[in-house]
């Protein structure tokens, strides 16, 4: 028998749940030194829905998610889980209460295996109380089978591509069987095919009543997967709508507070002589017989699925992992590129894909991050850095790219993901390259800044810079490129001209 009092209490809770949904956030405020990241924001997640959280870079999306995941404590406000006010003391606490999170930046332990990463802290034990590795592998295989992921559980994470690491993160988050799952830009490193895969996983979770918070800067994903969405602007709540009721332009207006129309502002500019010629580039086991050429003023897109080794080709061109055989010709002359500094002396610049591992100096400030490449070849007199000039250049570039930071002396790890990406772009643009290699240049960048960056890239091409751009976003590749090289499993499977290229043709060549 349930006493009348208890019954009333249960009823109250049920009613509250009805109104609140699974998770309700109200009046949350979070201040960092010099930055009011969140100002009285709210969010409501209903079970069995995908709720997209939208906003420009630095709008406070990740900060709120970190609060929900117990990483940050809010300065004010309330979190209600199934109608019950809750304090999430730590990430562990949040996990135990059924909230799991996929972080914007990869959080895997590089020197451990895939299985160890997934089951960390929950490893199956054998009868001696020791970790049962074979059971752990089996559990991983089962999890992967359920999610349709093809990956060796025994592989070391450091060996995986960024997209594969992302899939491991997703699997790990799903393995917690949480009732709220937060995904902070899970697709920024994925190509369309993996995105589709992820969506099928998400739909399955939604069916099972899980509430999903989904952060993305890719507009088309919003309409494909999200049921509802909430917009933040500058740390403030703007509104919540059902995704059926609005158009893309409505959302952009809510996010940015203005209209953005020309997404791919490609200017047709004269294409000059061949600047870079690549002949039969090989790294056995990675890519084979890569040949293409790149001209002055040309933007060459490099498309392909994850695993097509596009990034490896870029790394070889820049000397990060030099090619085993083949020829690289710059302005018709064969050159040896065995290190990034050698590549830079031939006029190359290279924005890498993984901003945490090979991009940012997270513990240094913005200025140091922007100037690091520039001062390897110029603006140094007798060993002394010409700091006043460099600072001025860095400030101009940061302003042009709309980097959101209190000042350039802010530590980079305090910046939002998209703003970190902007700093890296600034770093390479300042070196005034003749050959600019960009690997996922607009990864994690909001719509407004994205079109600004596209404009900058086109402007550079118009000035005669040769651009090689890798992107997983087909609209970006199609919108920006003069020609598109498509790769499939380490081979060039085709080259398309701007006029003939379309999504279908690219996917055909990429998937074979």
């Amino acid at each position: 028998m349930v006493s009348p009092g208890t019954a009333a209490a249960i009823k109250r809770v049920l009613e509250a749940t009805e109104a609140d949904g699974l998770l309700a956030i109200e009046g949350i405020r979070k201040e960092f030194p010099g930055v009011l990241a969140l100002d009285n924001v709210q969010l409501r997640i209903r079970p069995g829905t995908v709720h997209a959280l939208m906003g420009e870079n630095g709008a406070g999306k990740s900060t709120l998610m970190k609060i929900i995941a117990g990483i940050y404590q809010p300065d004010a406000g309330e979190i209600r889980l199934r109608g019950i006010p809750t304090v999430l003391k730590s990430p562990l606490d949040a996990l135990e209460q059924g909230i799991a999170m996929i972080h914007q930046e990869l959080q895997l332990m590089n020197w451990m295996t895939v299985a160890e990463n997934i089951w960390i802290r929950r490893e199956p034990k054998n009868s001696f109380g020791l970790i049962d590795h074979s059971k752990m592998v089996t559990m991983t295989e089962e999890l992967f089978a359920r999610l349709n992921i093809v990956l060796d559980p025994r592989a070391q994470v450091s060996e995986l591509t960024v997209a594969q690491k992302q899939m491991v993160e997703i699997a790990r988050a799903v393995s917690y069987e949480s009732s709220v799952l937060i995904m902070d830009e899970p697709t920024s490193a994925l190509t369309d095919r993996e995105v589709e895969h992820l969506f099928s996983i998400i739909r399955d979770l939604r069916e099972r009543g899980i509430g999903i918070v989904y952060i993305t800067h890719k507009m088309n994903e919003l309409f494909e997967i999200a049921d509802e969405f909430t917009v933040f602007r500058d740390g403030k709540y703007v509104g919540t709508h059902s995704s059926k009721d609005v158009t893309r332009d409505d959302i952009i207006r809510m996010m940015v507070g203005r209209e953005i129309t020309d997404m791919f502002p490609k200017i047709d500019c004269p294409i000059g002589d061949v600047v870079l010629e690549v002949k039969n580039l090989n790294i056995p086991g990675v890519f084979y017989d890569i040949s293409f050429s790149l001209r002055r003023g040309e933007i060459l897109g490099l498309a392909g699925l994850v695993g097509s080794k596009r990034s490896n080709v870029a790394e070889a061109l820049f000397g990060v992992t030099p090619a085993a055989s083949g020829e690289i010709l710059v302005n018709g002359k064969p050159v040896t590129i065995d290190s990034p500094s050698a590549a830079m002396s031939h006029g190359f610049a290279f924005l890498t894909e993984d901003r945490k591992e090979t991009g940012c100096f997270l513990i240094l400030n913005c200025l140091e991050n922007i100037q690091s490449a520039l001062i390897t070849r110029s603006h140094v007199n007798a060993g002394f850095v010409d700091q006043s000039t460099v600072t001025k250049l860095a400030e101009e570039m940061a302003a042009k790219l709309r980097v959101k930071t209190p000042n350039l002396y802010e530590t980079v790890e305090n910046l939002s993901g998209g703003n970190q990406q902007k700093l890296l772009i600034a770093r390479w643009l300042l070196t005034k390259p003749r050959i600019l290699i960009l690997d996922e240049p607009t990864r994690g960048i909001d719509v407004g800044a994205k079109s600004e960056i596209h404009r900058l890239i086109t402007a550079l091409a118009a000035e005669g810079v040769a651009v090689l751009m890798i992107s997983s976003e087909l609209p970006e590749v199609l919108g920006m490129s003069d020609r598109i090289v498509v790769m499939h499993e380490g081979h060039v499977s085709g080259v398309l001209d701007r006029a003939e290229a379309n999504q279908v043709k690219i996917m055909d060549l990429a998937a074979r």
């Binding site: 709309r402 770093r427 404009r455």
Partner: protein, 338 residues
Amino acid sequence: MNTSTQSIPQLTRSRRRLPSELTILLVLVGISLTFEILGWILQGQSFLANTQRLAIMILQVSVIGIIAIGVTQVIISDGIDLSSGSIVGATAMISMSLAQASSFPRALYPGLTDLPVVIPVVAGLLVGIVCGAINGFLIAYSRIPPFIATLGMMVTARGFAKWYTKGQPISFPTDSFAAIGKGLAPVLIFLAVAAVMHIVLRYTRYGKFTYAIGANRQAARVSGINVERHTVKVYAVAGLLSALAGIVVASRGLTAQAGMGTSYELDAIAMAVIGGVSLSGGRGSIPGTMIGMVIFGVIISGFTFLRLDAYYQEMLKGVIIVAAVVADVYRQRKRVKS
């Protein structure tokens, strides 16, 4: 509508946050006051109001301070140098053997007495640079962890110092060599070294590269920094400064022994870490290390002042070193949290 019509955010140039050196300075003040109070209670006299004691204290730590300056930049580049103390021993022996006066009948090289002071000094410094460069080469090109490479140098250089005279001390330097470490000279040398290194770390490309490599080695390489070459330079500079310390010690003591500088490397690392240089690289400064050095000195001299048994002193020194590292780890963790 065009995005560029929007106002471009203005970036301010102010540095709002307090420098981390300030916290360390507060620690120094706290420790000094503690000894002051304990002094009045236990000894009935002031600890701080004794300029002679303070002068001795600064003199004591200056020599190791010179090493700590070199070690600071090594740790900032995410390395470690265990060989400093042995390099002190080796350089002390070499430079002293070339600095002997002809008035001494049993000179090691009877034909090479009364040489101009530059010769022993330059020879000693060269030894240090070579030892450091070997460390750097091993670390940069054969990818041996810095701990192992410099441990090897630590043992080897010490062995060399012993072999050099089969364990015999070398004494009787010329007056000009003896002048190097006389009086307050070690303090002045330390201050000069610290000032130069401060400028180097803050305003030169060498400094920027050092921080960048320590913060993210991979990103530094992709930025076009020749990480290997720079690593060699950093360790060579550390070797050079250890050698300078060796010359100063030998000159001040008017003698050189193979065992000179034993465990200086640990004291130097401790000074840097107490001063806020992060063992995980990329963070730290010369002013920080200087404060760390003074803290180190105050603690040692404070213990002596309180007549603490030398054995206790040694044990407590160990505790302090560990405490400094714990503080570093704690700082890192706090940073990650918020």
